[in-house]
């Protein structure tokens, strides 16, 4: 029978038992001198009662000490553990032992001011120290990839050093795999075949670390598979591990929030605790512990549930940016904040060339386009010119040029080609002014598809029944991906009466049809020309050929087209990595990686990064495996510019949501997995005391304390 404590940290309270002694030694009351004539009688009385008084004093002192010690011990919840069936079934004699130390993210949980990992390490070292001299040992630190364990040996110093130098990482660990590796290591040395096998697992019993749907690890013996003795040491000592975490973060452009507005959706979870109300949630536009909160919100969390909270935020300017959502720090700090790196669309400068101006505004060719681009939430700043003024414009001042029903670009065609080749965007809308053959001649190199003839599907007077509608839409294209759900109806409902048919383009100049009309004729065609993009709409941008300009989908579509043509929509960051996943850093020509700045602000130089596994990627770039969650910044050196942090390359690393789930495994379940109580034993867990094999002693101690209290009162009276 052994004695264990549910809350061993509270054993410090035993120091209270020294209070009576301390009072006796240091706070003794000074006797008051009093002249008294009958001193002989006092002396005689003392002589007669001295023995009785001494016994009474000793009893009083003992009662007081016992009272405090018993109360302190009772608070630590001691229990006597009978060896029971497990001990009986386990073979006697020395055993080869593998110690598995759980180094997963949840082990960073701080309980009673101390990380669970530190407790588990102490348990593991204690298990190592308790081994007999004839028991070989090995250790498996279960963090990150499943390590291959060394066969057990007698070099205790190496095993101890391995355990002492281990650190809990922020990612997920598969304890089932680690125990499997440990069992394989125990089975490997033939010289130890006769020894018993024992696996000691120091863990927090987080359920997410175990896969109990696979067969338990076993050792192949001459008589078949043998289950090893498994001793699981619960670092949490049976305590629940309540944890709040930000388990998801998503940021999507939100036109309703302004030109650079984003809708930020955070998923907040609560595990292992009670329902919480009004949990503060802060959104900041920078990462790290010192991030200044821009928006503060509150969420109500159900017990063991997850809620999503949406917040809107508008960036003051475009470019690379970071958003971080954070909860108040709790016992597991690593998942209290989550960051996302994104590129906020820059302002798009657009030149709108009006091919058919009109003094009546709504009949003007560019009226609807300009209105759409110049709306308050639009990132596009349009400039409207008519076709006659177009040749005088300097295209280098613009990101996108929109030619709306322009008869001819004349000598500007060559400049327009260079403009697109160098990364500019060109939008073409047709109309009555456009001669398809002339367009093919002037802009043949730029057109995604050669134009053929104008087709009239119906006249506006005939109504919408015969009009063409959009079909086969590439909804996943960046320019059209904003249309989801009912929003697509506004796109598909547009009726087009007349449009230009396009011919297949020559080989080597691929074009992408983003949308067709319901007769199969291309409606929206995209092509890349050099570093730029061209988008052709085969109908008009005013109401002459189609009613799309007055449909709800026209405004966002035009803004997205402008953004897409300017290259802004594709400047999307890859989704945040999970700890332990690989990140490829793609440097511009002439740039050189100097260092990475981790979420804690520590700069990790090239040499350290190489020790961390930095390598050249198979498809170019540098591959690194960050092991801490948060925002990582990249310091580069470019010719003539010196070392600088490149915001474009910054990336966010998220903690593994599995490690935020701190719900604990039922000890009986784990015991059953390892072959029942005859093979497995959970130590340090109150629930493991089930089936009557653990006797709670705290109630006995409380009775003892109560008895001491009454004895003390009796002696005083």
């Amino acid at each position: 029978m052994s004695i264990g404590f549910l809350h061993p940290g509270l054993l410090w309270g035993l120091l209270a038992a020294a209070i009576p002694l301390a009072i006796h030694l240091f706070f003794r009351r000074r006797p008051r001198p009093t002249p008294f004539p009958a001193i002989d009688f006092i002396l005689r009385a003392r002589r007669e009662t001295q023995r009785r008084l001494r016994i009474r004093k000793v009893l009083l002192f003992t009662a007081r000490t016992l009272l405090l010690a018993a109360a302190a011990l009772a608070i630590a919840r001691p229990r006597a553990e009978r060896p029971g069936e497990a001990a009986a079934a386990v073979a006697e004699g020395p055993k080869a032992t593998a110690i598995v130390l759980d180094a997963s993210g949840s082990m960073r949980y701080r309980l009673g001011g101390r990380a669970l990992f530190e407790r588990a390490r102490a348990d593991a070292l204690g298990a190592l120290a308790s081994l007999g001299p004839d028991e070989p040992a090995t250790a498996v630190v279960c963090g990150g990839e499943t390590p291959a364990a060394e066969p057990p040996g007698f070099d205790r110093a190496t095993v101890r050093r391995m355990l002492e130098q281990a650190e809990a990482w922020a990612g997920h660990s598969d304890l089932t795999a680690c125990v499997g590796a440990a069992v394989r290591a125990l089975a490997s040395p033939p010289a130890q075949a006769r020894l018993g096998k024992r696996v000691v697992v120091a863990t927090d019993l987080a359920a997410s670390a175990w896969r109990l749907d696979v067969p338990p690890p076993a050792i192949d013996g001459p008589e078949g598979k043998v289950l090893p003795e498994v001793k699981v040491q619960d670092a949490a000592r049976g305590a629940a591990l309540p944890n709040l975490a930000v388990v998801g973060l998503d940021a999507e452009p939100d036109p309703a929030a302004g030109p650079r507005g984003y809708r930020v959706t955070a998923a907040v979870s609560s595990s292992g605790g009670e329902a919480r109300k009004d949990v503060p949630l802060g959104l900041s536009a920078s990462a790290g512990p010192g991030a200044k909160t821009a928006i503060r919100a509150f969420v109500d969390l159900p017990a063991g549930g997850t809620v999503r909270k949406a917040l809107s935020y508008a960036f003051p300017q475009g470019g690379p940016a970071v958003l971080q959502v954070a909860l108040p720090e709790d016992a597991l700090a690593m998942d209290d904040a989550r960051a996302v790196a994104l590129v906020v669309p820059r302002e798009v400068r657009a030149l709108v060339v009006d091919g058919a101006p009109s003094p009546v505004r709504y009949r003007d060719e560019a009226y609807f386009v300009e209105s759409a681009l110049a709306s308050p939430a639009s990132p596009v700043r349009p400039k409207l010119v008519d076709a006659d003024a177009f040749p005088a414009e300097d295209l280098s001042k613009y990101d996108v040029v929109l030619l709306l029903n322009v008869r001819s670009v004349g000598g500007k065609a060559a400049e327009l080609e260079r403009f697109v080749e160098n990364g500019g965007g060109l939008f073409l809308a047709l109309g009555d002014e456009v001669d398809p053959e002339a367009y093919d001649r002037e802009l043949g190199k730029l057109l995604p598809m050669p134009l053929h003839v104008v087709k009239t599907a119906a006249s506006p007077a005939e109504g919408g029944a015969r009009a063409a509608r959009f079909a086969d839409v590439a909804w996943d294209h960046p320019a059209l991906s904003i249309f989801v759900g009912e929003a697509r109806e506004g796109f598909l409902g547009a009726r087009t009466y007349r449009y230009v048919l396009a011919k297949p383009g020559p080989k080597g100049a691929p074009a992408t049809v983003l949308a067709s009309f319901d007769d199969g004729a291309p409606a929206l065609v995209e092509a890349r020309r050099g570093r730029g993009r061209v988008l052709l709409f085969t109908s008009s941008a005013d109401r002459d050929w189609t009613d799309w300009p007055i449909r709800t989908s026209f405004l966002p579509a035009m803004q997205r087209f402008a953004g897409f043509l300017a290259g802004g929509l594709e400047e999307r960051r890859e989704p945040a990595l999970v700890v332990g996943a690989q990140r490829t850093i793609r440097l511009e020509p002439g740039e050189k990686l100097v260092a990475l700045v981790d979420p804690g602000g520590r700069e990790r130089g090239r040499a350290e990064l190489e020790r961390m596994g930095l390598r050249e990627g198979e498809h170019g770039g540098l591959v690194v495996t960050p092991r801490e969650p948060g925002l990582w910044q990249v310091k580069v050196a470019a010719q003539g510019k010196g070392d600088r942090l490149e915001p474009r390359l910054a990336f966010a690393v998220s903690p593994d949501p599995r490690e935020s789930d701190t719900r604990r495994l039922e000890p009986r379940e784990l015991t059953a997995y390892f072959g029942g109580e005859s093979h497995a034993k959970i130590e340090g867990d109150a629930q493991a005391a089930g089936a009557g094999r653990t006797i709670p002693l705290w109630s006995i101690l409380l009775v003892l304390a109560l008895a001491a209290f009454f004895l003390e009162g009796l002696l005083i009276s």
Partner: protein, 301 residues
């Protein structure tokens, strides 16, 4: 609790009276007013006996009627000469300076008030009262006389006495044996905290010499009840001894030892035909004096 009818007899009230003379007056007036019919009136002038004349006797005391009847000279002896001669033995040792409460009289003050009052009452009824003051030895003695003016030096001597020295009543016993030629009444006022544990038996020796011995055992209530609860360093009042004890711890034992001692003292006094009265210093003085005087009257009758 002071008696509202006789406030001046309450020791707490007496303690406020500055001098022993005032205390004596207060006590004796109270005692006398309580005695209503004085049993002592006229006793001192009555004829007592005849004695055959011997040279040296007063010629004026020759009873000529007896000479005429018997033809022999007889001298008349009066009651005055056979009246009580009382030695008031007052213990003025250091332990008698104790009082458990500042509002009370010390044991010596209480004993002095008792002795002086008794002296006054004795003299008033033509008895002779003397004083023996003991402080380790006989520190002062005033022979007994019956004159009214004799009370004054007795009171002054008592008032001047300061508690000091050890309790050694044997010295007083020796002194009385040596200096009291006739049968006398010896009234002892002491706490009996004597080095000689057999002091009562020693006092009883006076009884064998025909002296009548009365002990007023004066003790403070604190000595009888031991009201100490805290750790206390008890200092001896007669020598350098001291003992540290927790009042609560030793009270029971102390009271047991004290009770045995008082019982033993009382029993020894009774066996030796010594009159014994335990006097708490918070007890009204008349409660001590009147029974004593009544006993005296009965024995005289």
């Amino acid at each position: 609790m002071p008696d509202p009818k006789r406030p001046l007899l309450d020791p707490a009230v007496l303690a406020k009276l500055g001098t022993l003379k005032l205390r004596v007056r207060a006590v004796t007036e109270g005692v006398l007013s309580g005695l209503h019919k004085s049993p002592h009136h006229g006793q001192s002038v009555e004829f007592a006996e005849h004695k055959e004349y011997a040279p040296g006797d007063e010629i004026r005391h020759i009873d000529w009627k007896a000479y005429g009847k018997f033809d022999k000279y007889y001298v008349k002896r009066f009651e005055q000469e056979t009246n009580l001669r009382a030695y008031l033995v007052v213990d003025a040792s250091g332990s008698m300076g104790y009082r458990g409460d500042p509002g009370r009289l010390t044991k010596l003050e209480y004993a002095s008030a008792l002795a002086a009052s008794l002296g006054y009452l004795l003299v008033r009824q033509q008895d002779a009262a003397g004083l023996v003051l003991v402080q380790g030895q006989v520190a002062g003695a005033i022979p007994p006389r019956a004159s009214a003016s004799h009370v004054t030096p007795v009171v002054e001597a008592l008032e001047a006495a300061r508690p000091q020295g050890e309790t050694r009543l044997a010295a007083a016993v020796d002194w009385i044996i040596e200096n009291a030629p006739r049968r006398s009444s010896v009234v002892v006022f002491s706490d009996l905290f004597d080095q000689d544990e057999r002091i009562v038996k020693k006092l009883a020796q006076l009884g064998r010499r025909k002296h009548e011995v009365t002990i007023f055992h004066v003790l403070d209530p604190a000595e009888l009840e031991f009201p100490f609860d805290d750790p206390t360093l008890f200092l001896s009042m007669e020598d350098g001894r001291q003992v540290e004890a927790h009042g609560r711890d030793v009270r029971k034992g102390y009271l047991e030892v004290l009770g045995r001692w008082l019982e033993e003292t009382k029993r020894t006094a009774a066996e030796a035909d010594v009159d014994y009265a335990l006097c708490r210093t918070d007890r009204p003085l008349d409660e001590v004096l009147v029974p004593f005087l009544a006993r005296r009257e009965r024995s005289a009758a």
